[in-house]
Symmetry: C2
Subunit: 141 residues, 2 copies
DNA sequence: ACTTGAACCTGTAGTTACTACAGGTTTTAT
DNA sequence: ATAAAACCTGTAGTAACTACAGGTTCAAGT
């Protein structure tokens, strides 16, 4: 572990720890092209610096928030390629935000349905003969 | 297709259609033990009746509500075994609704962030040197 | 009765996004 | 110098299906 200098290079273990993922995940991201192929030590160990960590954190944050790897790839494209206009970036961002809103709507409907089911259930009966949740899922056809 | 009598037995295709899934999915559910091994015709075709359809619909509904197959297995246990309380079922449903709420919260934070980023961007510049969106995505760590 | 086409069968492989080894090498710390 | 930790590659496993391939059976029309 490097403590002294934040700028010192580090290995894949430290990168993974800082990026909140497994070492294997970093290598997987490298294989599918989300992370760059890093420099190596003479012995073949991967060596990373601050920019790669920033990139990994960005990937992880996006993934945690439900973006697919393909979508993360699109977002990273804007970081990687200089020949995009700000307008393109804005359009993609707005498209993403709409998709996120759709997901939110879906989940909210789901949440409502779950709560309504739970609400009907007193939860005390020792018999499942008339459990409203089971009924809702199983009998209401 | 059987139209005349709702009680007549039917094949896996009709079952899948009625359960809103693919034939392969039914066979998959059979393989992993969510659906029972059905009777067969002399030629080996699967034969189903009303109870199996109800079970499949139950499974599909639960899956649509975001329950994992493992959770559906737990729920089906409540259907299959008589010695469970309604409270158990309710607890599982509430746990699921909390998880859905957490996902909603995450996505709402993301949505806000995306809109804020898009808002800062005039979207006209042909240079990405100072695009506020890229800055927010990549540099604000 | 016969034919044809839809529906069915089994089994394997592909999908997404990782995760878990196995079996070996390098680095680091004592 | 040696031992442990970290690393390497490569393959296989996970969830929850989905998509074939290559063959058999069923049902309807003639």
């Amino acid at each position: 572990m490097q403590e002294r200098s934040a700028k010192a290079p580090f290995g894949v273990g430290d990168l993974a720890r800082a990026g909140q993922c497994k070492v294997e995940t970093v290598r997987y991201y490298e294989k599918i092209g989300l992370m760059p192929t890093p420099l190596r030590t003479e012995g073949g160990h991967r060596v990373y610096h601050q920019p790669e960590l920033k990139r990994l954190i960005f990937i992880r944050r996006s993934r945690d928030l439900g973006f697919s790897v393909a979508q993360v790839r699109d977002l990273l494209q804007f970081v990687d390629e200089p020949n995009h206009t700000c307008g393109e970036v804005k359009a993609l961002t707005l498209a993403q935000s709409e998709e996120v809103q759709r997901k939110i709507d879906d989940l909210q409907r789901l949440h409502k349905a779950l709560l309504e089911m739970a609400d009907k259930c007193k939860g005390e009966s020792y018999s499942l003969e008339q459990c409203p949740i089971i009924d809702a899922l199983y009998d209401e056809i």
